[in-house]
């Protein structure tokens, strides 16, 4: 199972590393958000700004990669042989998500560089919060976007159903502003998002926030695995096609 997961992760990186739309989503789009954000704040780049902007890159890149990669699996009909293998499609999907996370992580240094060149780093820039927060945010984003993998695999014509996720997670993840700056309804819902707790920690909250984010990330990943297992069973029981 582990070998399959590693292989799927490696294939993911090999096949999609230079995807123009993934690069656009992971690097250019967040920098555009940064330009807009900076027009309001005009401050030097602190870890919250840098990680939040990278978080937008993660979100966009992961959503694009999930759709492109898993639809590719459906179109190439490679999931059917995977389903016949001992552990089914779970290791393939997890491997793909792992590969996508590594790809998305490019946004962390990839966005910091232009941000630092444009506006400079804030004095005493906390590199630890930037690095740990950036990595935790990538995991948290993968765990939530991973739910979309199930939708893409399960339903035909599903990409249209997933477009709203960027907007929803952007609002709920409190990537650009603290949670208390969000409208009340959104603020309450954002508590369920692991990203919002990572961002709280990056903005200076205690380690408890980071622990909550890891807990929510684990729950979200468990739901992803559960849904994919359920999909496998449904494919076998009800002959649901795994081809596009």
């Amino acid at each position: 199972m582990t070998a399959t997961t590693w292989r799927a992760a490696g294939d993911q990186i090999r096949m999609q590393a230079s995807s123009p739309v993934a690069l656009l989503a992971g690097l250019i789009m967040p920098v555009v958000f940064a330009v807009i954000l900076h027009s309001y704040s005009s401050a030097a780049v602190d870890p919250a700004f840098a990680v939040g902007i990278a978080g937008i890159g993660y979100l966009d890149a992961l959503i694009v990669l999930v759709v492109v990669s898993l639809l590719g699996e459906k179109q190439w009909r490679t999931l059917t042989p995977a389903l016949a293998a001992p552990y089914g499609i779970v290791p393939v999907v997890l491997g793909r998500l792992a590969g996508m996370t590594v790809q998305a992580l490019v946004s962390l240094p990839g966005t910091l560089l232009p941000l630092a060149l444009l506006w400079g780093l804030a004095p005493g820039f906390d590199w630890l919060r930037w690095l740990v927060g950036g990595a935790a945010l990538a995991l948290a984003t993968t765990s939530v976007v991973g739910l979309m993998a199930f939708v893409v695999l399960r339903f035909p014509f599903s990409p249209g159903m997933t477009n709203g996720l960027v907007g929803l997670l952007l609002a709920l993840g409190s990537l650009l502003v603290p949670r208390d700056a969000l409208p009340p309804v959104i603020r309450q819902l954002s508590w369920l998002m692991p990203q919002s707790h990572v961002m709280s920690w990056v903005r200076g909250a205690d380690a408890g926030s980071l622990a909550v984010s890891f807990g929510l990330t684990a729950v979200s990943l468990a739901i992803v695995v559960g849904l994919v297992l359920r999909l496998q069973q449904a494919v076998r029981d009800h002959a649901i096609p795994l081809e596009a």
Binding site: P20, V21, L24, A25, I28, M29, V32, F33, V35, I36, L37, S39, Y40, S41, V64, F157, S158, P159, G160, M161, T162, N163, G164, L165, V166, G167, L168, L169, L170, A171, L172, L175, L176, V177, P178, A181, L182, P183, V185, I186
Partner: protein
């Protein structure tokens, strides 16, 4: 739906777009722009900017995005379904067909912009401009966004990557249209560039102080002119593509 133009437009929408189901429409056409609008309104509110201005701008942007994205995908999705050659081999005028396919996206853009405006107004408890004024602004944005959409559709005839062009157009609009950030914040050499982008004239009218910003007529003419220029560029691109006759 007996008129052939409307019949073709409706069938193209149904054939080519995967969001034509309640969940897909809600997700793609409504939640996405509302999420973006809420995010930027929160940014604006947090940093002491004008929430009202951001709500109006983000709602107009939602409208333009729906039209541009829809027109680009009305061509690009033909490639995904393997029907692009069949369409191009037909005697139908390609530019006219692109315009026909844009009609449902005009409706989408208007509804998306209006709903985004109303929902965000509800969330923030404010409607910055009267509804009828906002609806008028949306109509002008539909004209200019349609022009830009025809250009992205023309590019989609040439470029195989489905999403890059419309996403790039969206990013440019976010920066240059004066909706999410003031054009005053752009580096001075880039400020005139913003006037060539859809929404910029309408946004300037709506956000300017009464009597000191551009007038209604001036803004409306500017917005329509922007649409016509982009449309002309798109039409030219489509003709170049068809003349080259080398659709890979």
């Amino acid at each position: 739906m007996s008129h052939p133009v409307l019949q073709g437009a409706a069938l193209s929408y149904r054939a080519l777009f995967t969001w034509l189901n309640p969940l897909g429409y809600l997700s793609s056409r409504l939640i996405r722009p509302i999420g973006l609008a809420v995010t930027f309104a929160a940014v604006s509110s947090h940093y002491g900017g004008s929430v009202a201005r951001t709500l109006v701008g983000a709602s107009l942007l939602a409208c333009a995005h729906a039209v541009i994205y829809g027109l680009a995908l009305a061509v690009a999705n033909e490639r995904s379904f393997g029907t692009l050659d069949l369409w191009l081999a037909s005697p139908q005028n390609t530019l006219a067909a692109i315009c026909q396919r844009g009609l449902p996206h005009l409706v989408d853009g208007f509804l998306g912009g209006l709903i985004t405006y109303l929902v965000c107004g509800l969330l923030y408890g404010v409607l910055p401009v009267p509804l009828h004024t906002f609806a008028g602004a949306l109509i002008l944005v539909l004209v200019s966004a349609f022009g830009m959409g025809v250009l992205t559709a023309g590019i989609a005839l040439l470029v195989k990557d489905v999403f890059t062009t419309p996403n790039l157009a969206h990013l440019l609009l976010m920066v240059f249209s004066g909706t999410l950030m003031s054009t005053e914040d752009l580096p001075s050499p880039l400020r005139p560039v913003s006037e060539a982008f859809p929404i910029s004239h309408v946004a300037a009218y709506l956000s300017g102080p009464v009597g000191r910003g551009p007038g209604l007529l001036e803004s409306a003419v500017g917005e329509v002119a922007v649409g016509l220029v982009w449309f002309a560029g798109g039409a030219l691109l489509v003709q170049i593509f068809l003349r080259r006759g080398s659709r890979g």
